[in-house]
């Protein structure tokens, strides 16, 4: 099987966010970065799938050159190959442009059976790139996946569980498929020292817009259908009231206040 894992580099969720305000973009180069936490589950699922079904894993990412770091981590975790889709023209891409670039890379790899991605990123929070990729490729769109029940590589079929509102939906789908996974589907492993050492010396191949046959007018800031007009910090919640006194008295006051809201029946 040929397995692809889509990995995004995001600013460290603990780090200070730096904006290019006039451009409506993030200054990605100026921030500490990590692998998008949701993508760790996608990568682990790719590793587990390779263990159970043989095959090879290609980890791909779109981002600035600095995004090499997250692909190097994939190499340390023994993926077979990595590709970084990077081009100044990709900067400022919206959901469709991002999905188009990744879909073009997946097509260029050829004969891919299954693509894993995380449910969403922790920076843009859009959660639609996996679904958009499936739609562009015309492949099975399997989102919110909490478990892979079975993969029949020869019969080109997959059965997954999707954790959606109110319960779990069991879906059978044709391969190839784009599978976006939820936190909790597995326990992501950590790379070992030998893996890290080996990966540190490996070359990270890059694909630019021309390599991918992408019209630069249709991606990045130039091609984005949505344009950022304002970035703001939401007003802080005013600190409220600390209830003081004996526990009996506090519980009495609080339950009165909450019951007065007429939400509790």
């Amino acid at each position: 099987m040929k397995i692809v894992a889509c990995i995004k580099q995001v600013p460290d969720t603990e780090a200070e966010v730096k904006w290019d305000i006039p451009g409506g973009k993030l200054k990605r180069d100026a921030m500490d970065s990590i692998t998008n936490p949701f993508d760790e589950f996608a990568l682990e699922e790719a590793l587990l799938t390779r263990e159970n079904h043989d095959g090879e894993i290609v980890a791909i990412s779109m981002g600035p050159e600095k995004a090499m770091d997250v692909l190097r981590n994939c190499l340390a975790l023994t993926v077979n190959e990595v590709k970084l889709c990077t081009d100044p023209a990709f900067e400022g891409s919206d959901t469709f442009a991002t999905a188009s670039v990744l879909a073009a890379a997946i097509k260029k790899l050829g004969d891919v059976d299954i693509v894993f991605c995380g449910k969403q990123s922790t920076d843009g929070n859009t959660g639609v790139v996996g679904a958009a990729m499936a739609s562009i490729l015309g492949w099975s769109q399997l989102t919110y996946v909490s478990k892979i029940r079975s993969i029949d590589a020869a019969g080109k079929k997959i059965v997954v569980e999707r954790a959606i509102e109110g319960g779990t939906e069991v879906v059978e789908a044709k391969l190839p498929a784009v599978v976006s996974v939820l936190k909790g589907i597995n326990e992501p492993r950590l790379p070992n020292l030998m893996g890290i050492r080996k990966a540190s010396k490996m070359e990270i191949p890059q694909w630019n817009a021309a390599d991918l046959g992408i019209d630069t007018g249709k991606v990045g800031t130039a091609g984005a259908s949505t344009k950022v007009v304002e970035i703001a910090v939401p007003p802080p919640r005013g600190a409220g009231e600390i209830l003081k006194g004996e526990i009996e008295e506090i519980a009495n006051t609080l339950t009165d206040k909450l019951i007065d809201m007429k939400v509790i029946k």
Partner: protein, 328 residues
């Protein structure tokens, strides 16, 4: 019409809840802003009743795609139907709820039209004839406002409960237009085998009351106390990432940047310190109650009411008081 506002009415195998019609409220505000019409659209099998009900929530027109192949939601089938409707009617704006279903169909339909979308919008307004769409980034620590002057329709998914529910008026009705669009079963990629209902009765995203626990609970047994309180006041049980990662409670309860974003009327945080990643998922709750032993915990800066104390003493006391006052 070029500026008409369309709202997708989601249903589960033909069943709707009032929340299915939620976006007709903000949809009407936007249509009034544009001086255009509010239309609902519904895709499924046997959706006449749903189409009719959409009229009572304020849609002036309802477009229904009704065929056997649309029995049960499937992203590829539904997105093809949506893309067909958008191409035929050319609405200005199309809104979907940011649920699993709404996100799936919006993402796929937008991709078929070659356009980006604004996902999980928390603010929508017409300003100078343009639609301004605001969404949270970095889990709510920033808001980003975007406009889309290239796509028709401009597509947004909207966070549940971000806007007020429209008032139902049984005397109102809409013109219902049926579109005979079908897709060939053979061209579809997926088949739903079964649906297993969750044992967790309350969907946190739609819950009005949530009792949540964090690392400060100290052990998984702490959640038994929280569950008791939640049951007495009719709420769901939430958790911080720390509690989930410690294996004390399953991931479907997680609130925060890598969990669910919730907006209950009452959020009771027990033993949760209030890291920005957690606040990101619950900071827009109407009333936040924080119970924590540490008086310096950041959660108190966001709390409407704070109690500095041990949840093991406070929570049972709250249960006792609520039981007495609510006659339970």
């Amino acid at each position: 019409m070029a500026n008409d506002v369309w709202v997708y009415i989601e249903h589960k195998d033909g069943a709707v809840t009032p929340m299915s019609f939620e976006l007709l409220g903000i949809g009407k505000t936007l249509a009034d802003g544009f001086g255009s019409n509010l239309c609902a659209f519904v895709i499924g099998e046997g959706v006449d009743a749903i189409a009719k009900e959409a009229g009572t929530y304020g849609a002036s027109k309802v477009i229904a795609v009704d065929a056997g192949v649309f029995k049960g939601f499937r992203a590829d089938a539904y997105a093809k139907a949506a893309a067909f409707l958008f191409d035929k009617y050319k609405p200005g704006v199309a809104l979907f709820r940011a649920t699993s279903q709404g996100t799936d169909i919006a993402a796929a339909a937008a991709a078929q039209l070659g356009s980006g979308i604004c996902s999980d919008a928390i603010g929508l307004a017409v300003d100078g004839g343009k639609l301004k769409m605001t969404k949270a980034a970095f889990g709510g620590n920033y808001t980003v406002t975007v406009v889309n002057e290239k796509s028709q329709p401009q597509i947004a998914t909207v966070r549940p409960k971000a806007f007020a529910m429209p008032v139902q008026d049984a005397s109102k009705s809409a013109e219902v237009v049926k579109e005979s669009f079908v897709v060939d079963e053979g061209s579809l990629n997926t088949k739903v085998l079964e649906f297993i209902k969750s044992a967790v009765a309350i969907n946190l995203v739609e819950a009005d009351i949530i009792v949540s626990g964090g690392r400060g609970l100290g052990n998984p047994e702490g959640f038994a106390l929280l569950k008791e309180l939640a049951e007495v006041i009719g709420g769901g049980v939430g958790a911080s990432r720390a509690a989930v990662d410690s294996g004390w409670i399953s991931v479907e309860h997680q609130v925060g940047q890598t969990g669910k974003t919730v907006k209950p009327k009452i959020y009771i945080a027990c033993g949760i310190s209030g890291a920005i990643q957690h606040l990101a998922g619950m900071r827009t709750s109407d009333c936040i109650v924080a119970i924590n032993k540490d008086p310096d915990a950041p959660i108190f800066k966001a709390a409407t009411f704070g109690i500095v104390g041990d949840y093991k003493q406070v929570v049972p006391k709250l249960v006792e008081k609520f039981k007495g006052k609510l006659g339970k």
